[in-house]
């Protein structure tokens, strides 16, 4: 699995061109519109919450934690990681452009890395914007430093890489990875948290919630806040979470690069 250019030179123009072209592909107008919609979803809800709550009763920390923790981390990050990371390979195969990428004197690993980097940058930008806007709505510009925004901005790209690398690996070995990615992201990740014991350690979100906890106020009522609070495990140590995520990303990415370097990706001649 060579990471050098085919003529022995270091990564240069071809990588940049491929990265830029991939980034442009990711940021097509329709995609940007859909991404903006997703990014502003928690912002709209935060605005609605703020406007329906009288001044003194409004709790910016609660609002931020629920929107950032529940929607940005729990939904936007995950679904964008599924869509973009699986699309790195499967979209190229589906639109039959993979043929051009694989018959160039650029190693397959480098091609995959460039496209994955573009996907990761795109998703990170979207979730960052979402998180910043939520913080601004919840806290206002003056008090934004009181929020957990800085920590979230650090952990979000880690989450993008963690989920992205896993879904990228799925995309390199499974023909139609989107369904399986969704099953993992919204089936497994949800159900495993409900199983008592250590099963939650098999969930990526469990580790991310340790790195970026979003605690809500304890209430006697069983409402959505309580439900979301239940998703924050407290039994995994922070250093364990860092170790696991730090190991997961290179392992999943490395396996994806290896798989992409040795497997065949010839598009089918038929439409389906």
């Amino acid at each position: 699995m060579a990471l050098r250019h085919a003529n022995g030179s270091k990564p240069q123009m071809s990588d940049l061109y491929l990265f830029r072209a991939s980034l442009r592909d990711m940021l097509r107008p329709r995609r940007v519109a859909a991404a903006v919609l997703l990014a502003t979803l928690p912002v709209a809800l935060a605005i609605a919450w703020r406007s329906t709550t009288p001044g003194a009763a409004f709790n910016p920390g609660l609002v931020y934690n629920i929107m950032a923790g529940g929607i940005v981390f729990g939904f936007t990050l995950v679904i964008l990681a599924v869509l973009f990371a699986t699309g790195v390979v499967s979209q190229e195969v589906e639109q039959k452009t993979i043929v051009y990428l694989l018959t160039r004197p650029v190693s397959r690993a480098r091609v995959l890395l460039a496209r994955f980097a573009a996907a990761a940058v795109t998703v990170t930008a979207i979730v960052w914007v979402s998180c910043v806007l939520v913080a601004l709505v919840a806290y206002g510009p003056a008090d934004i430093a009181q929020s957990r925004l800085a920590r979230d901005l650090l952990v979000l790209p880690i989450g993008v890489l963690a989920y992205g690398s896993v879904f990228l690996l799925a995309a390199t070995i499974i023909p139609k990875p989107l369904i399986y990615g969704l099953l993992f992201a919204f089936g497994w990740e949800s159900w495993v948290a409900m199983i008592p014991g250590s099963f939650q350690r098999m969930s990526i979100m469990a580790y991310l919630r340790v790195l970026a906890p979003h605690p809500q106020m304890a209430t006697s009522e069983r409402g959505p806040a309580e439900m979301l609070q239940a998703l924050n495990p407290e039994t995994i140590a922070v250093h364990t979470a860092w170790l696991v995520i730090a190991a997961l990303i290179p392992v999943a990415l490395g396996l994806a690069l290896l798989a992409f370097s040795v497997r065949e990706y010839a598009p089918k001649d038929d439409a389906e």
Binding site: M67, E94, L182, G223
Partner: protein
């Protein structure tokens, strides 16, 4: 260059040249069924089809086991923890646990319903045949509906027959004469909703993958939106509206309508169909039914508007 001998009206050599088909032509009533049948065949060939069907059937198996244990031990357990009738609660539990699998099945088999034809330029081929756009849409809808609904309907029917066999001598049939109809009505609900909405997304998207992505994002986004909106409204003291908002996800709508049709009570906690929101009052059914109908009609309207026989090239 042809080797066929020349023929005349009185030639002993038969006319071996090309002839148009002069056999019987079927009536126009089955045009949509041709398309539906083709969709069904395609769906059943997909790799994930049978595993997802098995996954969707598994809850019914589990509930059957729970009912069997209940019969043996005389204890209904979690099925009647919130009150209500054992059998109705059982069907509701199996139904609500299978909703996610049915969604995935719909996504797998339905994303390419129209988007696949768009990508392959097959729409022009379809609509150049002597069929109407309505035939095409009805055929696509029927094919997808049968695929999705059967994943709920067949296991529900099997469960009903099992329950009938298990509890017949306890007067089950006399006490629940309409349960089979309720179970059937409820089983087809996910098929109706997923088919209609997914058809709309498939008509909008250029490729099956984009259609699947759009529908998945829509499906999963509604969950947290509804929950958080309910929380916002609840905190503001609008409990009725909060209760209504909390049901306004795809699975929430399906669960709520099914619960009313079956007159069932969900199991407690996260294992119920109500996502643990037992403190909120029961919302009115009419807005939920109207939302369901609205989603169905919107999906169909979008599909109807987007299906065109011409390819529009821009730039």
């Amino acid at each position: 260059m042809s080797d066929t001998p020349s023929q005349s009206a009185h030639s002993p050599i038969a006319d071996l040249s090309y002839r148009t088909y002069d056999g019987p032509l079927r009536t126009h009533y089955v045009r949509w069924w041709v398309i539906a049948r083709a969709s069904l065949r395609l769906a059943m060939k997909k790799r994930g089809y049978w595993p997802l069907v098995a996954l969707a059937s598994f809850p019914y198996l589990m509930v059957g086991i729970m009912l069997y244990i209940s019969k043996r031990t005389g204890m209904a357990g979690m099925l009647t923890a919130m009150g209500g009738d054992l059998y109705q609660n059982a069907f509701f539990a199996a139904y609500s646990w299978s909703l996610f699998s049915v969604f995935l099945l719909a996504l797998l088999t339905g994303n390419a319903a129209i988007a696949g034809d768009t990508r392959a330029n097959a729409l022009q081929v379809y609509l150049s045949k002597p069929i109407t756009k309505l035939d095409y849409l009805v055929g696509k809808w029927a094919g997808l509906f049968i695929t999705v609904a059967s994943a709920s309907l067949i296991p529900a029917t099997v469960l009903y027959l099992f329950v009938l066999g298990l509890y017949y001598q306890d007067g089950f049939l006399g006490e629940h004469p309409a349960l089979i109809l309720q179970a059937i009505a409820v089983s087809v609900l996910p098929g109706v909703l997923h088919t209609s909405v997914l058809l709309g997304f498939s008509a909008v998207a250029k490729t099956p993958r984009v259609a699947a992505a759009l529908y998945a994002a829509f499906y999963f986004a509604l969950g947290p939106i509804s929950q958080i909106t309910a929380g916002i409204l609840g905190q503001a003291g609008h409990t009725q509206q909060a209760a209504l908002a909390s049901r306004m996800s795809m699975s929430g709508i399906l669960s709520e309508v099914a619960m009313h049709v079956l007159d069932a009570k969900p199991m407690p906690g996260r294992f119920g169909g109500q996502h643990g929101l037992s403190q909120l009052p029961e919302p009115p059914l009419l807005p939920i039914v109207l939302t369901l109908a609205g989603l169905v009609l919107a999906g169909l309207a979008i599909a109807r508007a987007r299906v065109r026989a011409v390819e529009v090239v821009r730039g």
